[in-house]
């Protein structure tokens, strides 16, 4: 039985898991859907009441029925890598690949339809609330008056992308940023804007959930950190991530979240305030984990490899 990993070639985090699976003697096929058609081949025949299909990349071939699990890590857009790339080819390649794989009976980290929903940050906030995780007061709006009223009530705000994505034309990054005290909110009329009460934090928390395993790490805010540096991804820091236990209520909330979202993997970000409360910020359904493992030594790669290596249902 084989583990199928869908990711781009530059993904060294996937390398960690490929390496670990090889040590365990588990067969792996790694490919990028961007290379379908081309370097990646796909064929499936429906007949005699069943589906028989194969995937190939280079000299490697795997039958769809021989897949124990599929890890959707950092895949390229199906059909986008070739000279004939087009929106229609992408649609055709996406349907062919994921449609057939979905019928393979393999276990998924994570199911594509669950991933699609789980990427919606506004939905994440609501689900976190329903699961009992504290969520900072948040407003998503295109109404300047609503933004001004929110700012009056909560005073110190941050702004962040609703989608979590960054503009590409031209390439920019939009870190979570503290809103200027004299901000003019007229421009929220030009696009949905996510404003959130600033959590004055003493640490950032990254909780990586792999199946039933919860591995949390904590990074203290430097005492000399600039007040404007609120986004741990972009803030300069000399502090390292340290392993930390997961409070019982948080663990229960996270497990409820994963069940409701039907996710096998999730990387949760929290801000820990000065009372010790972990405020839910987001859950990245394919979030990076190696940077935490490098600092803490937590066995996240091993947890992912173990999950992927398990037999398929009924297998």
């Amino acid at each position: 039985m084989t583990v199928l990993i869908l990711t781009c070639t530059q993904d060294v985090t996937a390398d960690l898991v490929v390496d670990r699976l090889r040590v365990r003697g588990v067969r792996v096929v790694r490919l990028d859907p961007a290379d379908l058609p081309g370097a990646v081949g796909l064929s499936g025949e429906y007949g005699d009441g069943g589906l028989r299909g194969t995937l190939s990349v280079g000299d490697r071939r795997v039958g769809l029925g021989a897949l124990r699990s599929v890890w959707v890590r950092r895949p390229g857009v199906a059909g986008s890598g070739g000279a004939q790339a087009s929106a229609w080819l992408t649609q055709e390649a996406t349907q062919a690949l994921y449609g057939m794989l979905r019928g393979s009976g393999a276990r998924w980290m994570n199911p594509p339809e669950a991933s699609y929903l789980a990427r919606h940050k506004p939905w994440q906030l609501r689900l976190a609330q329903e699961c009992g995780l504290p969520v900072p007061a948040t407003l998503i709006t295109t109404v300047p008056g609503a933004a001004r009223d929110f700012a009056r009530r909560y005073r110190d705000l941050v702004v962040k992308p609703v989608s979590g994505a960054h503009p590409q034309d031209p390439p920019l990054v939009v870190p979570t940023s503290r809103v200027a005290p004299d901000a003019d909110f007229d421009a929220v009329a030009l696009g949905p804007t996510l404003l959130q009460r600033l959590v004055v934090k003493r640490a950032d928390i990254r909780l990586t959930a792999v199946g039933d395993r919860l591995l949390a790490a904590r990074k203290e805010v430097s005492p000399d950190a600039a007040p404007e540096d609120v986004d741990v991804r972009f803030a300069p820091s000399t502090r390292a991530w340290r392993a930390v236990g997961v409070p019982h209520r948080v663990a229960a909330g996270v497990r409820g979240y994963l069940d409701a979202a039907r996710l096998a993997y999730g990387a949760f970000d929290f801000a820990e305030d000065h009372e010790g409360t972990w405020w839910f910020l987001e859950c990245n359904q394919s979030g990076q984990f190696a940077f935490v493992e490098l600092d803490t030594g937590q066995p996240i790669t091993e947890a992912v490899a173990s999950w992927l290596a398990r037999p398929r249902p009924g297998g």
Binding site: D15, D19, V57, A147, L172, V174
Partner: protein, 65 residues
């Protein structure tokens, strides 16, 4: 006037310029390897230095950091 959040944007680093990694993908091993043939992931110091596995890696094409 532009979208509110863009007032807080900053230029993205060009990965082609700033992060050309000293490894390449080996389709036989299915991992990235260094010039000496070792898997790049065995060199933790290099991964730290390059930030290849940090939560901003891959932000250009993926928003699940």
């Amino acid at each position: 006037m532009r979208m509110f959040a863009l007032d807080y944007a900053r230029p993205a680093e060009d990965p082609q310029v700033t992060h050309a990694p000293p490894y390449r993908y080996d389709p036989l091993l299915q991992v990235n390897v260094l010039d000496d043939g070792r898997p790049a992931v065995r060199d933790h110091a290099l991964l730290r230095e390059l930030g290849s596995t940090t939560s901003t890696a891959g932000s250009k094409t993926h928003f699940d950091d």
